[in-house]
């Protein structure tokens, strides 16, 4: 499956799950900031990805799990060095260029772009 074909499937999933228009789903669009995804939508998206692509997504594989609640990783509303490295390690598909030096946790949701989702699916399909 080509990257374009993966993008089209991901776009269809996001249009369905988030009730957005096709033209809103661009590579750069972030799921929460631009497309309005809420926490429960991530579970819906995970199920739809599994259904559409036929792979299994483990807990915390696609979106971080228990990182934001960990004092070691987040202090005073900012990612610590350790938290930043942990996120990068656990989410190799995400785009961390959107996190600037302030490392505010509000920026973390911005790393989940459509492109990151496509990369995630591409990696999963290649590993299968």
């Amino acid at each position: 499956m080509t990257r374009d074909e993966i993008f089209e499937k991901v776009r269809d999933i996001l249009v369905d799950a988030l009730a957005v228009d096709e033209d809103e789903v661009t590579n750069e669009a972030s799921l929460t900031g631009d497309l309005g995804a809420e926490s429960i939508d991530f579970l819906d998206i995970k199920f739809k990805l599994e259904q559409s692509f036929g792979f299994k997504v483990a807990d915390g594989e696609l979106f971080p799990d228990n990182v934001m609640q960990n004092d070691e990783y987040v202090q005073d509303g900012k990612l610590t060095d350790k938290g930043f490295e942990e996120l990068k390690d656990r989410l190799p598909h995400a785009d961390f260029s959107k996190i600037d030096s302030s490392r505010s946790i509000e920026q973390v949701s911005e790393v989940f772009t459509v492109e990151a989702l496509v990369t995630f699916c591409e990696n999963k399909l290649q590993a299968a």
């Binding site: 799950a17 429960i40 579970l43 995970k46 199920f47 599994e50 807990d59 934001m68 609640q69």
Partner: protein, 172 residues
């Protein structure tokens, strides 16, 4: 007190499918308000669509709860899609056939076919009038840092009664 929007479970294939029925009766008070007569039209009792979706959610929710041995608190998290193309009026029976599409430690995804049987039409059969796709959350697994009461406040005595009267054994 919790309002039950299904009368009986008529089929259960664990972790796969559950079928439940709901008889629409004029004894239900809300039908007299939905819609009551006005100066320009007579009364038109119709079961409200959101209550049909609640019945679907109870059917699919029990299927999800049963799949997890009723250990998880199963909460309706999202109505991904809901379509209804006909009114359910008094004297009809709604049948909900819920299918478990995905199930994991975080929650579940279900699809339910909604059918209607009109008892006013002799010899009529169930006909499909809609579908609903629902996402359920196992809330203890999703709300990091948020604590909920230990007891399972979702699957209450009323659900136990429904299961028992439907001939289904449930240990919760």
């Amino acid at each position: 007190m919790r309002w039950m929007w299904i009368d009986r479970i008529v089929e259960l294939a664990p972790r796969e499918r559950m079928v439940a029925i709901k008889n629409v009766s004029l004894a239900e008070e809300h039908l007299h308000d939905h819609f009551e007569a006005s100066s320009c039209r007579p009364a038109h009792p119709v079961m409200p669509g959101p209550l049909i979706i609640e019945g679907v959610a109870q059917t699919a929710g029990i299927l999800v709860g049963h799949a997890g041995g009723f250990k998880e608190k199963v909460i309706l998290a999202k109505v991904s899609k809901a379509e209804l193309s006909a009114d359910a009026v008094p004297g009809t029976t709604l049948r909900y056939t819920a299918t478990l599409d995905r199930f994991d430690e975080r929650g579940a995804q279900t699809t339910t076919i909604i059918e209607l049987l009109d008892h006013g039409q002799p010899g009529s059969a169930y006909r499909e009038i809609g579908q609903a796709e629902l996402v359920f959350s196992h809330i203890d697994q999703n709300m990091a840092g948020t604590e909920f009461p230990e007891e399972n406040f979702v699957f209450t005595e009323q659900f136990r009664t429904l299961l028992t009267t439907s001939g289904i054994e449930a240990d919760f």
